[in-house]
Every structure is written in C-alpha cells, then in structure tokens.
C-alpha cells in the first residue's frame, strides 16, 4: 500500500511539473492571466495585397493608455501553436503607420493596427488563402490580461486601390497621347533642333564621298529595352538615307531578336527609298551574344574596313569606350547615343556628337517626323512638364505646410506620389 501511495505521489508530482513545462510561459511580474475586451478588436485580411498578410485592429481607450501589447497568431484551430508576432507599448503601432495611402486606408491615430506578415511569421511563402487565429496579451499595471481568440482568412486582392494614383496618371498620359496624335496628324508638332541628329546627313554624305562603309552598332540591349527600340527607329532613318545616297551600311548584332527586327527595318527603309535592289542580306550580321567577344569582333571589323562614319546608338555597357576609341583611331566621324548614363562620358570623349538619354528617344521622331512618333515625344514632354510643375508646386506647398505645421498636407502630397 505504501509503495502504491509512493508511486502515486511520484506520478502526481511528475504530472504537475510536466504540465507546468508545457503550459505557455509568461515573463514579467504577474503570473495571473485574466480576460480583457479591447474595444472594436478585429482580425482582418490586410487590404490590397497579394494575400500574404492579415491585420489586427482595436481602438485606443482610456483603460489601456499605459499598457503593453503582445500579439500572438496561430494557424491551428485548437487554441495551440501560438507564435509571438510583436510586442509594443501603447501609442506605438497605430493605424497611421500602415503603409497605405489615405484614399484606401483610414489612418487614425486612435486605432491600433498590427500587420501580420505570414510570410515572415511562418517563414514560408503563402500561396493559398489561409485562415488564422489571433489574440493579444495586454500587460497593464503589472497584471496580464488576454483577449478572446479571433479568426480571419487572408487572400489576395484583385484590385490594388493603393495604386490608384499610378492608374490615374497612366490614364491621363494615355489621353494626352491620343490628343497629341490627332493634333500631330492635323497640324504637325514642333520639335527643337538636336545637333547630333543634324550631323547624320553630314556623316552619310562623307561616307558616300569617300566610298567607305558606315557602321551602325545597335549595342547589347534586348528588343524590350527602350534604347534598343529607339535605336531601331534611328537605324530605319539612317538606312533610308544610305539607300538614297547609294552608300553601304553594316550593322553588327549582339542579340538575334534585335537582328531579326533590324533586318526588317533596313529592308523596309531600302524599299521606301525606292532602292530595294541595293538591299543585301549581309547588311545585318550576327556576331556574338557575349559582350566582350562582340566588342572584340566589332573593333576588328572597324579597324580593318576603316568606315567613314560610325553610329553607336542603343544600349551600351563597358564596350562603349572599346568601340568608340577604335572608331576614333580610324578617323571616322562618330555619332553616339545611349540612355546608360555612366557610359555617356566615354562617348563624349571619343565621339563627335553624342545623344544624351532622352535625345535618343527623340531621335526617331525628329528624323522621321512620323505623327505617331512625334506624338510619343510630345507625351514624354508632357510628362516632363508635369514633373517640373509638380516639383515646383509641391515643394512650395510642403514648405508652407512645414512652416505652418500642417502635417495633413504633407501626408496627402506624399501619399499622392508614393508607389505602393
């Protein structure tokens, strides 16, 4: 009997101690946990996201003024598997700190809002809609309280209202584009003189007189790059002039897709110049898709064939100086154009004319005067005008807001321009 009692006591003690090990541990002075009701305590799906986050909100009331909050979440429905998300003091993590613009989320300082980023919490990518459970532990005057458990479901949103500013701007730009196209077709639009492009005629004329070829290097960009697209427009106009003067052009390529597009463009240009018979398939040649092999071979071709004019127009990286330097050493007249800002200095040093960034985009429109291209250029100018006006007006408004302590004004202005 004694042995049975002893065994029972040992079992009882072990059970108690193991229970205490398994139950949640709370740090701090207090060990008692009572229930608490937070006003308007809600578990939500985070608005306008891919479906990776939830949101817990509750109102700041006088009884929780000096409290400290700890948020727990779980994806299990049996009140287990709680994971601590964050811990903060009263006044922190309010709705105004949520990274959403004023038109899609009410940024009220009196409301606590805790985003629950499940990608980070669960350390795995959330691909499917997910149900979660959440509770908040409140530490107040050394005593701990716990809210009831709320549940919600997170899923992706089809419409990103937070990006409404981007959409509106896109619609305005599109509208301006169509207005500009119609205006350009009816009356034509003014474009100021661009020196580098005026020199194209001079370069082709020189090549014709000297009986030497013209090299047109479209760079190492893919067809999806804006500078490559702009380069193909310039290539079309240069080829047309080459065909008219009955000169010879050579276009070495890095990208096979760009070569295919360029072939069509050059063929079309020769046809438009009424010289389809002068078009040769070997005008466009593929060299290599490796940057420096391409540069080495184009350098070799330039130094051997000694062209009268070299055009480097498109997307260039480290090969810019390698190409332009060799071209300069052969005495060719050189015209370059790229939107890669850190390569432009090399073209400045080695070329006669350089088209800087936007001038390259303008080149196609400037040379062809095609209404569609001119309109596109006008839309770019419109964008620049909006930019300049926005910077000027918004800067003044922000200065006034800062001077007069109008926080709301700066919030509205920055939200309007922020990318979410």
């Amino acid at each position: 009997m004694k042995t049975t009692k002893l065994l029972f006591s040992v079992f009882f003690i072990i059970s108690l101690s193991s229970f205490s090990f398994c139950s949640p541990k709370y740090t701090g002075n207090s060990k008692t946990v009572s229930a608490i009701e937070l006003k308007n305590f809600r578990a939500l799906d985070f608005p306008y996201d891919k479906g990776e986050s939830g949101l817990l909100t509750w109102e700041n009331t006088s009884d929780i003024m000096d409290a400290e909050f700890t948020v727990y979440v779980s994806t299990l429905s049996d009140n287990s598997g709680w994971i601590k998300v964050t811990s903060f003091k009263s006044g922190e993590s309010t709705a105004e700190k949520i990274n959403l613009p004023f038109w899609s989320f009410e940024k009220d300082k009196k409301i606590y809002a805790v985003p629950l980023e499940f990608n980070n919490i669960l350390s795995s990518e959330i691909k499917e809609p997910l149900s979660y459970y959440a509770k908040v532990e409140v530490l107040k005057s050394g005593k701990k309280y716990e809210t009831s458990v709320l549940s919600s479901r997170i899923e992706g949103n089809w419409f990103r209202a937070d990006r409404l500013n981007n959409l509106l701007f896109f619609l305005v730009v599109s509208a301006v584009f169509f207005i500009a196209v119609s205006h350009a077709k009816k009356k034509g639009l003014f474009i100021r003189r661009i020196a580098g492009l005026d020199a194209i005629d001079e370069a082709i004329g020189r090549a014709t007189e000297m009986g030497k070829p013209i090299f047109y290097v479209p760079g190492i960009g893919a067809m999806s790059q804006i500078s490559t697209i702009a380069s193909t427009f310039v290539l079309g106009e240069v080829s047309k002039k080459v065909a008219q003067y009955d000169s010879y052009i050579k276009v070495p390529h890095y990208d096979p897709i760009v070569m295919t597009v360029s072939k069509e463009i050059v063929k079309q240009a020769y046809t438009e110049a009424e010289r389809p018979d002068s078009y040769k398939e070997d005008i466009n040649v593929f060299i290599s898709s490796d940057q420096f092999s391409y540069a080495a071979n184009v350098d070799g071709m330039i130094s051997r064939e000694k062209p009268a004019a070299c055009f480097y127009i498109g997307y260039f990286m480290a090969e810019s100086l390698l190409l332009a330097e060799v071209g300069a050493s052969t005495g060719a007249i050189q015209i370059a154009g790229t939107d890669v800002d850190h390569q432009l200095p090399f073209f400045f040093t080695a070329c006669d004319y350089t088209l800087i960034g936007e001038e390259l985009y303008a080149a196609g429109a400037y040379l062809s005067r095609e209404p569609m291209l001119v309109s596109a250029l006008k839309v770019q100018d419109f964008g620049k005008l909006i930019f300049m006006v926005s910077v000027t007006i918004f800067s003044i408004l922000l200065l006034i807001g800062d001077k007069l302590n109008w926080d709301g004004l700066s919030q509205i202005l920055t939200d309007l321009l922020k990318v979410y």
């Binding site: 490796d290 100018d381 800067s395 807001g401 922020k418």
Partner: protein, 245 residues
C-alpha cells in the same frame, strides 16, 4: 589538375591576353586568332548556359515531371518562343508575329507601370520629400535639398523638346548642362578607376605567369610577338625599297 595542364593554361591565358593587347599597336594575325577564339568560346559558353540554366530547368524538367497544368504552362510559351525561329523560313515567317506580338505586349505591360512608378512618381517624391521637414534640417541639408530640386528641374528642361531654348529657357537649359557635366565627370572618374583596377588584375596575372613556375610564359610570348612585329616591319621596308628600285 596536373602540373602540366596548369602550365599549359597559364601559357594560353598569357598568350590570349597579349594577343588582344597587341591590337593597341595595330591589327595583326595574333589579334585575329584571339578575336575569333573569343567569339567561339563566348558563344559556346552562352549556349551551354542557356541550355543548362534555362532549357533544362524551365522546359525539359517540367515537361518530364510536371502536372497537366504545369506542362501546358511550359508548352505555350515554348511554342511562342519557337515561333520566332520561323523568321528564317520566308513562307511561314508570318507565324513569328505571334511571338513578337506577345513579347512586345508583355514587355510594354511590364515596363509602363514600373516606368511610371520609378521614373516619375518616385523621382518627384524623392526630390520634394526633404521639403516636408525643411525647417528642421541643418544648413547643409537645406542647401542639398535645394540643389537637388533646382538641378532636377534644370536638367529636365534641357531635355524638353517642345520649345526652342532661347532667352530664359536657354539659361535654365545651360544650368542643366552644367549639372549634367558635373555628373558625367564624376561618373567618368569612377568608371576609369574601376577599369584601371581590372587592368592591374590582368597585369598581375601576366607578371605571375612570367615566373619560372610557369616556364616564363609571359616573357617568351611577349618576346615572340615583338620579334614578329620587328620582322614584319623589316620585310615591309625591304619590299618597299625593292619595289621603289
């Protein structure tokens, strides 16, 4: 790797480097050898990279082990990609338009919202943001914020093509050019320093390969090249003299 192979590798590396450097003197057969080898090796490397990094994991493996939906998601883009090759067959080259149309549409769809966001909205916000708390900034920060705003507007005006740059416009545009030149100068210096560091790396390798461990690879090849150029010059001079006589 065996000792012999290491020495052979050093000779090849030193030779190709010097052959390419020889272009600084003039175009020559050694440069042509290196140039064509470079193109061949470059394309070979590019092909295997595309095959093992794109075709195998993105096409062949999903086709072998994917579900019906995954296979469809591989087959459709693959067919669009293959359609581009029809460009080389004039009779059916029209098929390539489907691939190109998709490519252009996809690129435009990706680029336009991102372009608007980064080139416009982020840029404006970045320029004006310091003005939101301008009066709590230090003197230097205030000056910085003003310089950035003025510089941005002036540079942008330089790229404004709809009006002739004359009068006040000319002055604003000129200020823009000064800002651009300062940037380009700094960028030039920065890139030249980076290029020099690459050149030092190459020189360091050549110096290493000129040691006894590599059987004086650099020295022998440099001497050979020099001899070739001297002999070539002599032959040319003699031929010229003979033809003059």
């Amino acid at each position: 790797m065996s000792e012999g192979m290491i020495i052979f590798g050093a000779w090849v590396a030193a030779a190709l480097t010097l052959f390419l450097f020889s272009f600084l003197y003039k175009d020559n057969p050694f440069f042509k050898v290196a140039e064509h080898l470079f193109i061949g090796a470059g394309m070979g490397w590019y092909f295997q990279t595309v095959y093992y990094k794109i075709m195998v994991p993105k096409i062949l493996e999903p086709l072998n082990s994917g579900t019906g939906f995954e296979i469809a998601m591989v087959i459709i883009p693959s067919i669009l990609g293959l359609s581009l090759i029809t460009q080389f067959i004039p009779k059916i080259s029209w098929i390539s338009r489907y691939g190109f149309t998709f490519l252009m549409g996809y690129s435009a769809g990706m680029a336009i919202p991102v372009g608007l966001a980064t080139d416009f909205m982020n840029q404006v916000l970045g320029t004006i943001e310091p003005f939101a708390n301008f009066f709590s900034l230090s003197g230097f920060e205030m000056f910085n914020a003003l310089i950035i705003a003025i510089g941005t507007v002036c540079v942008l005006f330089y790229f404004f093509f709809s009006v002739e740059h004359k009068g006040v416009g000319k002055k604003v545009s000129n200020i823009g050019i000064y800002f651009l030149m300062v940037y380009f100068g700094a960028s030039f210096g920065n890139t030249v320093m980076a290029r020099f560091s690459l050149l030092y790396g190459r020189f360091d390798t050549l110096v290493n390969y000129s040691s006894a461990k590599y059987l004086y690879a650099t020295s022998w090849i440099a001497a050979g090249l020099t001899l070739f150029f001297v002999a070539e010059k002599l032959v040319k001079t003699l031929t010229k003299a003979e033809s003059a006589e």
